[in-house]
Symmetry: C2
Subunit: 338 residues, 2 copies
DNA sequence: TTGAAAGCGCTAACAC
DNA sequence: GTGTTAGCGCTTTCAA
């Protein structure tokens, strides 16, 4: 039915082995033969059967990305970075969207991965996910984004530093009652580190974090909005809030708007992410190079897969940058304007 | 090395054929035998080799999504919807990010798809893409989102109606000088329809679209910003603008802010999309059910793949809804406030 | 209901 | 440099 390597071999007057070698660019093929095989293959519009090739070689030329979400800025941006790199190397990208690990069953059974891909990239799942261990057990080359795991290459930002940077910025502006909007009570390591950065900065300035000034936004816009709303209902609301993600900060800003409170002028907001639309909303944020993180993880994985990378697994840390915008203005100036 | 169907067969005291039948739930297997095979397979932690299964059966259990971008709201939302449906049916999702069709080479050669997937979903590529025809030629079940193609199931909004709705809304508000921010000069069908809707609404109200009030935003925030900026530099700028996408509208709003012009109050903006953050930016927009469009396309494709769907290829049209927000206020009220 | 056996189309030793 | 050949692990007739 469809045209196979045998047809090409026959038409070119060589064996299938030679066709295979010629087409894959392997050495030990007469240049002339190679050329002829190529021409014949093109004429016949021959395409290797991936299934057959995989079965025979044991390689799939495919990488799976396991991510909680596809349709959120951070994740889609990471995915896009990964896609860039894989495409260059002609590796296929399989996406498994596993949902919020806090509420969903979790990773696709490692059984699903076995034999299907040559490598896996895992994007920010909570370290405690037992499924991660399962997955690593099948011995597939793996690379993490946003999570550290012994023996596995990973790319992260310095979450503690990012949290500290944002909080310190608020402190430098003169704020003392600084609230915090976290993700969820049951923290991931990344979230815990951001919280630690907040505490460190506060204590370094001689300030004591007020537990009543912490709220949870579950990393969503809606969550950030209700978190901010609850902070505003405190008897003594904060004058500034460190928010762990831009999406939640967007929600927080909306809450402020709804209450007729001007972000920056009345209550300062600083967060982490560097979301595309942060500039639009005039949000001060600690930017992370998200697409690049995806690219780096993919590069590291390809290295592992191809057996280059003679070095030990790397824990890569990418730099973050504080981008100051209108959501944080000095209290003095705020006082003047208000 | 890894455990195969033969190991299971041996351990269960049956042939490999029976194991295959039993495990796949095929009929003509004694319930007792099936149970035994299942138990043994589980004990041995057996997983079928996808490559072998594919080679033997000719089915891949995989669907490819071809999309210009992953990291933009519309596309990641569509992807997520698709992923939902595929996951339910245990079908793998392969993603090909092909880049802006206007500037990039285009579709992955159909050669890349052949034998690799059982079906393809194509997301909003310009109809003229010659590669589309190539792709269809290999006879893979296909389903389109945002594009119509004869004989292929597709899910679209009524672009003309959406453009008309947004423009009519501006007209109803009392605007007469209504500008338009389009995608690009070389229009896709979808873009052309939106433009048609704009023109129809204008003419229906006895207004003549002013060519100097059209600008191109290339469907990006930055593009929308510069398009709006150029409209503002007109000797006689518009009092309202119909923008073809929310992203561009965001940029337009930023341009207004930069010029000290209040969206809604000074210049009205209405667009199409229903972006997650439109509410935040108080943007009036004609919402489309994006995730659902992805789900519908995936459903239609699965139907085709499984050979159900006895009906003719369907052209599905999903409804849009105008969501009125602060970026469009009646001119009277605008006059009062300004 | 079950088994035997012939492939699916390719890769990779190994021999020449 | 090229050909021969033995699988890769499964599915699927066809018989039994």
């Amino acid at each position: 039915m469809s045209i196979t390597i045998r047809d090409v071999a026959q038409a070119a007057g060589v064996s299938t082995a030679t066709v295979s070698r010629a087409l894959r660019g392997l050495p030990h093929v007469d240049p002339e033969t190679r050329e002829r095989v190529r021409r014949v293959a093109a004429e016949l519009d021959y395409v290797v059967s991936p299934s057959a090739s995989r079965l025979a070689s044991g390689r799939t030329g495919t990488v799976a990305v396991i991510t909680p979400f596809i349709d959120r800025w951070f994740f889609s941006t990471v995915l896009s970075g990964i896609s860039d790199v894989l495409q260059e190397s002609d590796v296929d990208l399989l996406v498994y969207e596993v949902g919020d690990p806090a509420t969903s069953p979790g990773l696709p059974a490692e059984r699903r991965l076995r034999g299907r891909v040559d490598g896996v990239i895992v994007v920010t799942l909570p370290t405690d996910a037992p499924a991660i261990a399962d997955m690593l057990e099948i011995g597939l080359p793996t690379s993490f984004i946003g999570v550290r795991w012994p023996g596995v290459p990973s790319v992260c930002i310095d979450d503690a530093a990012a949290g500290r940077m944002a909080t310190q910025h608020l402190i430098n502006l003169g704020h003392k009652r600084i609230g915090i909007i976290s993700g969820r009570p049951q923290a991931s390591t990344s979230q815990a580190s951001r919280a630690l950065g907040y505490v460190t900065a506060m204590e370094g300035a001689g300030l004591t974090p007020d537990p009543s000034l912490e709220a949870y936004g579950y990393f969503t816009v809606a969550g950030g909005e209700s978190a901010m709303t609850s902070l505003l209902s405190q008897p003594n609301p904060p004058t500034a809030v460190f928010v762990m993600s831009d999406d939640m900060a967007f929600g927080a800003i909306r809450a402020l708007q709804r209450h007729g409170i001007r972000p920056g002028t009345d209550i300062a907001i600083a967060s982490i992410d560097g979301h595309e639309l942060a500039e639009l909303l005039d949000l001060t944020t600690v930017g992370q190079p998200v697409a690049q993180m995806g690219r780096m993880a993919a590069d590291a994985l390809l290295g592992r897969m191809l057996g280059r990378e003679t070095t030990a697994p790397e824990e890569m840390t990418v730099p973050t940058t504080l981008v100051v915008r209108g959501s944080t203005v000095p209290v003095d100036r705020a006082a003047l304007t208000s």
